[in-house]
């Protein structure tokens, strides 16, 4: 992924704004021409809507235990009135979990948690990776060598195992899982940014700025970075999908989100042994993870195709 991004370059920021707008408009047009990307965007939009309005959509508090409140049983099957469930029975469209809580409400609130995890981890990784990659690419020489070899060392570890190792040191919990995933993802972004910076810093407009007396800080952060950041959008979008998957896997193992937080991976892990007796408790969190990851992947692929002129040309042929 990162390799294909390295060749990507965006026209420099120039005073002729209409040209820049045209490029953006062109990319936008290319993006909206792709059905899969549109589907991804629609799903993601829906997920974001669900996450924002989770409290309004969910019929119950995700942590509310319904023992002595409703006549239900542990891990009760879904009850949907429209599908023939008796009207005198409380409706729980995704059933009841092991702690007598409404599964649908927990899945809905889980959307909020999962999106938060995805955006936060990738956000942290992008910030750290951008700084590291920019400094490395701009400084070059031994600074670049040391930083990139360090990134290579991190990349040499299987990312999930490295995340587990970091959590072992930091301790269990969602916050530490976020840090662990962010650390694991940082080198990817650092490499992408470094490659872009290496390319952009040789451009004429950078040389011109330097000739006009711009300092290193201004050159790097005002001239180079804004023009090297585009590949990050694609890598970041795809990275969110992976981050959500890894966070769910960590929570499944009991290393990430802790009870009673309604996180999909935790929900899967808690009821993994009920796969035969109460499959709905595994199915709904699982399918939620799948849909979310799919949405980010479709969107990421669409963005890549839209922002990469070479792919766009191929597509138009």
């Amino acid at each position: 992924m990162a390799a294909s991004m390295e060749g990507l370059e965006i026209q420099p920021e120039i005073s002729n704004n209409y040209k820049s707008d045209s490029l953006l408009r062109l990319a936008g047009r290319r993006f909206f021409r792709q059905r899969s990307a549109l589907i991804g965007m629609i799903i993601l939009g829906t997920l974001i809507f669900v996450a924002i309005f989770a409290s309004q959509i969910a019929p119950y508090d995700p942590n509310q235990v319904l023992i002595d409140i409703e006549d239900i049983t542990q891990r009760q099957d879904p009850c949907i009135h429209l599908l023939g469930c008796p009207k005198d029975q409380a409706q729980h469209i995704m059933g009841i979990d092991g702690n007598f809580r409404d599964e649908f409400s927990r899945v809905i609130h889980g959307t909020r948690v999962s999106l938060f995890i995805g955006f936060t981890t990738v956000g942290l990784a992008i910030v750290a990776g951008t700084l590291i990659g920019a400094v490395s690419g701009y400084a070059g020489g031994w600074v670049d060598n040391i930083i990139m070899r360090l990134m290579d060392v991190i990349l040499a570890f299987p990312s999930f195992l490295l995340a587990i190792a970091i959590i072992t040191v930091l301790g269990r919990g969602l916050q530490n899982a976020l840090y662990a995933i962010a650390i694991v993802y940082t080198p990817q972004f650092a490499r992408v940014v470094r490659a872009s910076v290496l390319s952009v810093k040789e451009k004429e407009f950078v040389s011109a700025s330097r000739a006009l007396g711009a300092g290193s800080f201004r050159l790097l952060f005002i001239r180079i970075l804004p023009n090297a950041i585009a590949p990050l959008i694609v890598t970041g979008t795809l990275g969110i999908a992976s981050a959500i998957l890894e966070a769910a896997a960590l929570s499944f193992l009991g290393l990430g989100a802790q009870p009673p937080l309604s996180e999909w991976g935790t929900m899967l892990g808690t009821d993994r042994n009920q796969v035969f007796s109460a499959p709905h408790l595994v199915f709904y969190p699982g399918i939620s993870i799948m849909i979310t990851v799919l949405a980010f992947n479709l969107l990421g692929d669409g963005l890549r195709d839209a922002l990469d002129p070479r792919l766009a040309n191929k597509a138009s042929k």
Binding site: G98, N99, Q258, P259, P260, T270, N273, Q274, F276
Partner: protein, 564 residues
């Protein structure tokens, strides 16, 4: 010269005759020792022993002596009516003295122990299975299956799947949600696990606020235990009225546990100086647990969240649920290093009240912080009385003291079930000890048994977890054994163990004609060696895989030659 030579020969002959006569007219023990060859090589039997210098070391065993080839005498420092029950426990299995010495307490003894049991370990593929082969010279009835394959899987659903697929004959601990499906399946049978047990919430009184008995009492009154049992335990489980189940004599002596009383519980917390803040929270704490399936706690994460919910809703205690790795959890909780509540339980090792109370509330216990003299002094007195009726008043006082001081809150006595193919003959799970593979008849040559986890080691003496004790119990036998359906103790390698009047000296008569898997004969010295290696810390073979020899220290109070 010839005369003097003849005289010498006559003198030598006379002395030899006198020696033989002396041996023949000696006491009965010596006679047995001299006439019975050791290990079949014609040598005289020389009994060995292990002993402490005195009872000052704090342990219960003063000496173990092989008085003849088939008699062992255990001399205790104080009467112990529970001796037979303890001696039947798997860690006290008997191995050949020579084998123990040859291994030095490590190596083969950890993975391929030699015993007298119906099965021999033929192969242990780490991470996969342990394979047993039938021991053809076994002294008892021959096992039905020629080969046994022991496998493991941590997930109950996966174990059940193995059974349904027919790739296993019997599996341990199925989920309570699967009980009905198993009972409805004509190809399967559900096998209740009748092991007496207790699940409790423990406090460590060296951490605030659990150093305040009123706070502990508030939790004791403010948790709806009936709700937990009704909703999270299999049918047949019951709310604990006492720490020890009532099926154990004197377990239920004394007053029953507190009724669920929210008003009183909250008043206690108010008076103890823990008012609610604007969010209704009095203080924060942690609930520590491990995610393993046990008879006393079949759904640990679920019950942990339920207790978390009840603490917040009922008492305003905001608790974080903290899952710990099993080994770390046992170590930390056992040493009293957990600053919050810990969810733990106990399954009976042997059918005596001391197994429940003395381990948890004894003088040297650290699990609940500083031990409680009002409790352990009663327990020390009770442990020396063999007559259950005579000990009742003492255990009443002990149980009432536990109720007053609340080192923990007893929640439930759980039930659980194993499952087997309907075609498996003799399928059972005993109340004490583990299922003996020799009684299971798969109808063909190979029995496949799937348990929760891989054994840590197969030398029972140094093991504590059920997943290790079960596999080594198939290989190594004890002096006594528990019944298949009760806690009644009867002879295994000993035909009997009888005591003197006060229960301080136990004499065990051993079974003759028993062979070990290596072909050597079983005798009293093997008993001494097998006990000495665990009990005596100075024994050169006191090594093991963990080196803890936990049950020797715990059931007999201390080790001989213990390091400071």
């Amino acid at each position: 010269m010839r005369k003097s030579t003849l005289l010498k020969l006559l003198t030598f002959g006379l002395l030899l005759s006198l020696m033989l006569v002396a041996c023949g007219n000696g006491d009965e023990t010596e006679a047995a020792a001299t006439t019975a060859p050791d290990e079949g090589d014609g040598e005289e039997f020389v009994g060995t022993s292990v002993s402490a210098e005195s009872c000052d070391y704090g342990g219960k065993i003063l000496s173990i002596e092989a008085v003849d080839e088939l008699t062992v005498v255990f001399t205790l420092c104080s009467p112990d009516p529970a001796f037979p029950g303890k001696a039947a426990f798997t860690p006290f299995g008997i191995l050949p003295a020579e084998f123990i010495a040859a291994t030095g307490g490590t190596g083969d003894i950890l993975e391929q122990p030699v015993g007298t049991g119906p099965y021999m370990v033929s192969d242990w593929v780490r991470g996969e299975s342990v394979t047993y082969t039938r021991f053809d010279d076994y002294w008892g009835d021959a096992p039905a299956a020629e080969t046994v394959v022991l496998r493991w899987n941590a997930e109950s659903a996966a174990r059940l799947l193995e059974l349904q697929a027919g790739t296993a004959d019997m599996v341990t601990l199925v989920s309570k949600d699967d009980f009905q499906a198993i009972e409805d399946d004509p190809n399967l049978q559900l096998i209740p696990v009748p092991n007496p047990n207790i699940f409790y919430i423990g406090f460590t009184n060296t951490f605030a606020p659990w150093d305040n008995v009123d706070v502990r009492r508030a939790v004791g009154m403010g948790i709806d235990r009936q709700r937990i049992v009704d909703n999270f335990y299999p049918p047949g489980s019951e709310v604990a009225s006492h720490f020890t189940p009532c099926s154990i004599p004197n377990g239920c002596a004394g007053d029953e546990w507190y009724e669920f009383d929210l008003e009183a519980a909250n008043a206690l917390l108010d008076d103890a100086g823990f008012p609610r803040d604007e969010n209704g929270v009095r203080f924060t704490t942690s609930i520590y647990f491990r995610d393993v399936v046990r008879v006393y706690l079949p759904q640990a994460p679920i019950v942990a969240v339920e207790i978390q919910t009840q603490l917040l809703e009922n008492l305003g205690i905001d608790a974080e649920v903290v899952e710990m790795e099993s080994g770390e959890f046992i170590t930390e909780s056992g040493n009293g290093r957990l600053d919050g509540l810990h969810l733990l339980g106990w399954g009976a090792d042997y059918p005596h009240v001391t197994n429940f109370l003395d381990f948890h509330f004894g003088r040297i216990g650290t699990q609940f912080g500083d031990s409680y003299p009002d409790v352990y002094e009663q327990l020390e007195a009770g442990a020396q009385i063999g007559d259950e009726a005579a000990a009742q008043s003492i255990y009443e006082a002990a149980n009432n003291a536990i109720r007053e001081l609340l080192p923990m809150v007893p929640i439930a006595h759980g039930t659980a079930a194993d499952a087997a193919l309907a075609s498996l003959g003799g399928a059972y799970t005993p109340p004490f000890g583990a299922t003996q593979f020799m009684y299971l008849d798969p109808g063909d040559d190979t029995l496949v048994y799937v348990q929760n986890a891989e054994p840590i080691g197969l030398w029972c003496a140094d093991m504590t977890d059920g997943e290790s004790l079960r596999p080594c119990q198939q290989v190594v036998e004890t002096l006594l054994e528990y019944g298949q359906d009760s806690g009644e103790v009867h002879g295994e390698l000993a035909t009997s163990c009888t005591s003197n009047d006060d229960g301080s000296v136990w004499t065990c008569a051993l079974r003759s004609g028993v062979l070990f898997h290596d072909g050597s004969s079983f005798d009293a010295n093997d008993v001494v060696a097998s006990w000495a290696v665990g009990l005596d810390m100075a024994n050169p073979s006191h090594v093991g895989s963990t080196g803890d020899f936990f049950y020797f220290g715990y059931l007999w109070d201390s080790f001989i030659n213990a390091e400071d």
